[in-house]
Amino acid sequence: MRAGWSYVGRRALFALITIFIAISLNFVLFRLAPGDRTSALRCQGCTQEFKQQLRADFGLDKSVPEQYVIYLNQTVRGDFGRSFVTEQPVISELWQPIKNTLPMILLGTIISIMLGITTGVIAAWRRNTLADKGTVWGGLLFYSLPTQWLALMLILYLAGPLNLPTSDIADPYLAYSNAGAWAEFVDRLKHMILPAATIGLVLFGEYTLIVRSSMLEALGEDYILTARAKGLSNWEIITQHALRNSMLPIVTLVFLSLGFIFGGTILIETVFNYPGIGLQIYESVGNRDYPVLQGAFLLLTVVIILMNFLADLLYFKLDPRVTE
């Protein structure tokens, strides 16, 4: 399997190069933004000398290449600078929101994968039946719904009847009143359901269509006929052969979208007032908090690159043909 490992190595190298490009362009992108850390400052004591001093403190008086080297150096060491707004390290500003967002995204993705695979497989297997048509139309419909609007509809029509909270990540007073770990867990889950369901439903539309079409593709392959000839049951044929093969495009899709949902949670987190990474980014834009924005942007880009890489690795694991 030496050829295989060289594949992994090549993908890893590619990921690293892309990350390097992302880091560099990130520097450029925010250098292009108007103003710097000091220009937006307005206060009585903000004299030119004061601003000059500040610029020196932030290393903004150095030449661009010098700044770039310093920036690279810091980035490699995981130092993304300090927030303009809170003066706390960017990493710690981003860490909590990420921790909040992650489980919500995972739950949503799990919901969408389970729903999407089930309906997609049924639709492909019962092609041209009512179930198939229903799935295709339903998938198209959910794929077409604006995310934020779906979220609002869930609040409007589901939150009340199901008695689910529509904002924040947890009831803060539970921890304060020492309600116990289980109660806190249930509470967290409750807060997560609606945002996760939104992600789940939005992705579901896309997933079910893709699963269906890649299942149809797989079901048309000769090895399915072989499997039937071999006397395998339908269930065995679908799970052992068709699904296994159609998983390849699905896995890639899931990992790719996992990377993008991180950024895409902005809409959902805005609606559900969910203190995650999306909300953090949105606020940083409003505050012109460039270090946080730059850090978040880089982080999300790297996440997407890593997800790509993971998808490659998984592909490698799932598809024995991938060696070149």
Binding site: P34, G35, A40, R42, C43, Q44, G45, C46, T47, F50, Q53, D57, R82, V85, T86, E87, Q88, P97, I155, A159, P165, T166, S167, D168, I169, D171, P172, Y173, Y176, T270, V271, F272, N273, P275, L279, Q280, E283, V285, G286, N287, R288
Partner: protein, 562 residues
């Protein structure tokens, strides 16, 4: 970003005030204990409990060297000792200070402070803490402590001859020392001293929560702080005056009012600081909640570029045009539609909070399109083929309006304006920007105020008129000015009111300044929005201004009902 603007203004205001020197009288102390009696409160007082408050604005930092949002100020007001405070009638009274005297030259202020106060970690609060904080800010005021510097502007040294005496020396007599000191938060020396660091850099990076909880010295201390979540402040057992009824206060930040109101309705909150006007009527009939409609600290205004050097659309400099525009602002419809009736029209920069400085002689312009059209016709601005008026220099009445985002209802306001002004043969397009970018766009290029035509913004009404008046000074070009307005006559009056200690005389000057404004119209004043908050009927003792952020919240009266 209303609250944020409020924060900025608060700290700027005092800085400006400091420049104007002042009298030499001695103000008697407010007697320290300003606990309200609760008056007509009939429900039984139940001690303890946690008051859970929802807000749509957020605290940016609890480090006073960093944060500047209004909510952060509220948190510091509740958790750090201050020498004086506004009472519920917006009069300065003693808080930690029991009494104070001023030297005859007005430069030396001596405060007697309470001896019984303790920080939340058990250490006593002494005048030495105050002197330390003051001197620290003096030392690093041009650097890391810039955020705190305005509150002690013109002071030269802080001394604590004994534990209950604080002496502040100023380099000139300053008239409004007390309104400044109302926001001078006294920090625990034993906590801050070790983190100062090289050139004070540690101050900016200080995390007051690093010890697990903040070391507070007010009625409360911050137990948990979450910028976008819930911040809980707990009763400080060592508080120097009447302790609050509640055990703790929770402050949850919401990005949108909908979510907040759902939480209030669902019983996860006891109160919300703002009720959207669109919903207020619906809620006012809800038996479980009390809607509190109070004074306004919020005005919609339309800044017009008043820089005489403005390059294009110079027709906007024509006072006749401004008058016509003012007549074509349908204030009543704006109040009905944007504020759902929770507002009143205004013609000047002050809300009712600033009474009696509010010039009530200036009439609210009637909505009169015909009259406005006539003014423009008479001034010779003919309509072009497309119905849009054209100035004699060929300049079309087609203007760009800078609209900051995140100001409630401002899009709606723009639309109403666009419709009304279209009837005058004027077209406006919105340029929507985040508040920083919007402010930069107004000053563009480079704070020369040459490009922008008009803007729509909100204006924060404050108690003392000084800051609001100062925004229109010539020296504010590049500072707070959002109109490019400069009028030496106005500036002269401003300096005069700054040293006029007689309230009546000062009022007359301030009224005159407003007259000048209503003549020059650098702003069209539209409407003030009443503050609307709501709280559950399980709570009592909440008096009108409890969440306006202008004074210390009267926790000694707010309580759970039995």
């Amino acid at each position: 970003m209303r609250k944020r603007l409020l924060g900025i203004i608060l700290f700027g205001a005092v800085a400006l005030l400091a420049a104007c020197g002042g009298g030499e009288s001695t103000t008697p102390g407010g007697g320290g204990d300003n606990a309200a009696t609760g008056g007509a409160e009939t429900a039984a007082i139940k001690e303890g409990g946690i008051f859970r408050l929802g807000t749509t604005s957020n605290p940016d930092s609890i480090n006073p060297f960093v944060g500047f949002s209004a909510l952060s100020y509220i948190l510091w007001t509740e958790t750090y000792p201050t020498l004086v405070q506004y009472d519920t009638d917006y009069k300065i009274v003693g808080d930690w200070a029991d009494s104070w005297t001023t030297s005859s030259d007005g430069k030396v202020w001596t405060f007697k402070v309470k001896a019984n106060g303790k920080w939340s970690d058990g250490k006593p609060i002494t005048a030495a803490d105050a002197a330390f904080t003051g001197n620290l800010v003096l030392k690093y005021g041009e650097g890391p402590a810039a955020m705190m510097a305005p509150f002690i502007a013109h002071s030269t040294k802080f001394e604590a001859p004994d534990a209950t005496t604080l002496v502040i020396t100023y380099d000139e007599p300053v008239a409004n020392v007390l309104p400044q000191l109302q926001q001078f938060f006294i920090l625990p020396q034993h906590v801050v001293e070790p983190i100062i660091g090289d050139k004070g850099k540690g101050l900016k990076q200080w995390d007051p929560m690093s010890g697990g909880a903040q070391v507070g010295g007010g009625a409360f201390y911050v137990k948990t702080f979450e910028k976008k979540g819930t911040t809980i402040i707990e009763k400080n057992p060592g508080y120097y005056t009447t302790p609050p009824h509640v055990d703790a206060i929770g402050l949850t930040v919401y990005q949108n009012a909908d979510a907040m109101l759902a939480a209030l309705k669902g019983g996860q909150l006891d109160s919300v600081d703002t009720m959207p006007p669109t919903l207020a009527k619906q809620w006012s009939t809800d038996p479980n909640f009390t809607l509190q409609v109070g004074s306004s600290s919020f005005i919609y205004d339309i800044p017009i570029n008043s820089n005489q050097k403005k390059t294009d659309h110079r027709e906007l400099l024509d006072l006749k045009v401004r008058n016509a525009l003012d007549l074509a602002v349908d204030r009543n419809q704006i109040i009905e539609t944007v504020l759902n009736g929770y507002g009143t029209p205004v013609a000047t920069m002050f809300t009712d909070l600033s009474s009696p400085y509010n010039n009530t002689d200036i009439p609210i312009p009637p909505y009169d399109i015909a009259a406005a059209n006539k003014i423009l016709d008479d001034a010779g601005y003919a309509r072009g083929a497309d119905g849009i008026r054209v100035g004699p220099d060929g300049s079309k009445f087609d203007w760009e309006v800078i609209v900051p985002e995140n100001v409630e209802g401002i899009d709606r306001l723009f639309e109403i304006l666009k419709t009304s002004w279209a009837e005058l043969g004027i077209n406006i397009t919105a340029k929507k920007l985040d508040s920083t970018a919007a402010f930069e766009a107004i000053g563009a290029p480079d704070w020369k105020y040459l490009d922008f035509d008009l803007a729509i913004w909100d204006w924060v009404g404050y108690i003392d008129p000084d800051f609001m008046l100062s925004v229109l000074l010539c020296n504010q070009l590049g500072g707070w000015s959002d109109t490019g307005y400069c009028n030496p006559e106005y500036d002269k009056l401003y300096d005069e009111q700054g040293i006029t200690l007689d309230a009546e005389k000062r009022k007359a000057i301030v009224w005159e300044m407003q007259d000048i404004q209503s003549r020059d119209l650098p702003y069209l004043w539209v409407a003030q929005k009443q503050s609307i908050s709501a709280y559950s009927k399980n709570w009592g003792g909440l008096t009108e201004p409890f969440l306006l952020g202008m004074s210390k919240i009267p926790w000694d009266t707010i309580h759970q009902t039995g």
